[in-house]
Point group: C2
DNA sequence: CTGCATGCAAACTCTTTGCACCCGC
DNA sequence: GCGGGTGCAAAGAGTTTGCATGCAG
C-alpha cells in the first residue's frame, strides 16, 4: 500500500515547513516534483522523474530535478539507493515503514522486505564501535522465480 | 589480519585455474593486478590500483584494470562495493571472512564488522520470497569518534 | 600464426556546474 | 527589487568501447 492521500498532504506540509525553516523558496517546480514522487508506486530515478514531469506538462530541468532530490533527501522525504553502478534510484520514505531490498540479478525486480533483527544488529554495532548510526543499507541479491525473469534460477554471477 | 602468503599463493592458483577453464589468457597484467590487490591491506578503487601499478613499474592501462577487475569479481576473488555514488570500491575476498561495513559519513573511514544474525536474516528472506540469494550488501552509515574526523558526532546528513 | 588482451583515446552515462534570466518573498 | 531558483548547455568523473598492435597458446 504505497499510496495514500493523507500522507500526501502531510508530506506536502512537512516539505513546506522545511523550506520555510531553511529560507528556501516554495517554488512550483519543487512541489511538482514532490507531488509526482508521492504518486509513484515504486522506486524511480532522476530521468524517469524528468520524463514524467514532461508528460504532465510541468517540465522541470535536470538541474532542478537533482537540486530538489537533494533537498528532499536532506529533509528525509526520500531515500537514495545505489543498487547498481552510476545510477541512483530513489523512493519516497514518509509513511512507508522502514524496509530493505531484495533484488533479482536476472530481471532487476526490486522487492521490499522487513526483518526486525536488522534493527538489533544496527544497535549492537553502533554501541560496539561507538558510532552514532544514522542510516543503513541492506540489499540482498539473488534470482527470483518469476516466469518472465531472464534468469530463472540459473546460476549466473554476471549481470549484477 | 589482512595479509598472508599462503592465501596469496592459493589465490594465484585459483585465478590460474579460472583463466584456464574459461579459455582466458594468463597475461602478465592480470597477475600484476592480482598480486597488487592481495598485498593491499584495505579497500581500493580502480584509480588507486592504476597508480600503484605505475609506481611499481608494472603499468597497466585503465581499460585492462577494469577488464581484470571484472574477471576477478566474476571468479569471486574480489568484491565490489558502491558505497558512494559514481565510485566503485573493491576488496580482496578470498581468505577474509565475510563481513559488512560501517562507514563514517564525516571522514569516509570504512570499518568492517561481522554479526551472525545477518546470515539468519538472509536465510529467512530467501525462503520467504523463494529466492536463491547469492550476495548481500549491508552498510551502516554514521559518525565516528575519531579525533581527526571532520564531523565529530555532529549531526550532518549531507556528505554521504 | 591466430585471435584474445592490451593501450590509447574517444565515447558514454549520469550528475554537477556556470551563467543569464526569472520569480518568490 | 533583491537574491535564491531555474533552464540550458557545457563540463566533469568514472567507466566503457573501438581499433590497431602485441603477445599467449
Amino acid at each position: 500500500m504505497r499510496n495514500n492521500t493523507r500522507n500526501h498532504n502531510i508530506v506536502k506540509e512537512i516539505f513546506e515547513n522545511y523550506l520555510e525553516n531553511n529560507q528556501l523558496r516554495k517554488t512550483k517546480s519543487r512541489f511538482s516534483i514532490l507531488d509526482t514522487i508521492y504518486k509513484l508506486e515504486s522506486h524511480f530515478d532522476a530521468d524517469e522523474l524528468f520524463q514524467l514531469l514532461k508528460k504532465k506538462s510541468e517540465p522541470v530541468s535536470k538541474a532542478t530535478i537533482y537540486n530538489t532530490l537533494e533537498v528532499l533527501e536532506t529533509c528525509g522525504l526520500i531515500r537514495k539507493h545505489l543498487f547498481t553502478k552510476n545510477h541512483a534510484v530513489y523512493e519516497p520514505s514518509y509513511g512507508f515503514s522502514q524496509h530493505d531490498h531484495l533484488i533479482c540479478t536476472g530481471c532487476n525486480k526490486i522487492i521490499e522486505f522487513c526483518d526486525p533483527r536488522i534493527q538489533a544488529i544496527q544497535t549492537t554495532i553502533g554501541k560496539l564501535f561507538n558510532f552514532q548510526i544514522e542510516e543503513r543499507s541492506l540489499t540482498l541479491y539473488g534470482t527470483c522465480i518469476d516466469q518472465a525473469c531472464k534468469n530463472k534460477h540459473i546460476d549466473n554471477k554476471q549481470n549484477k
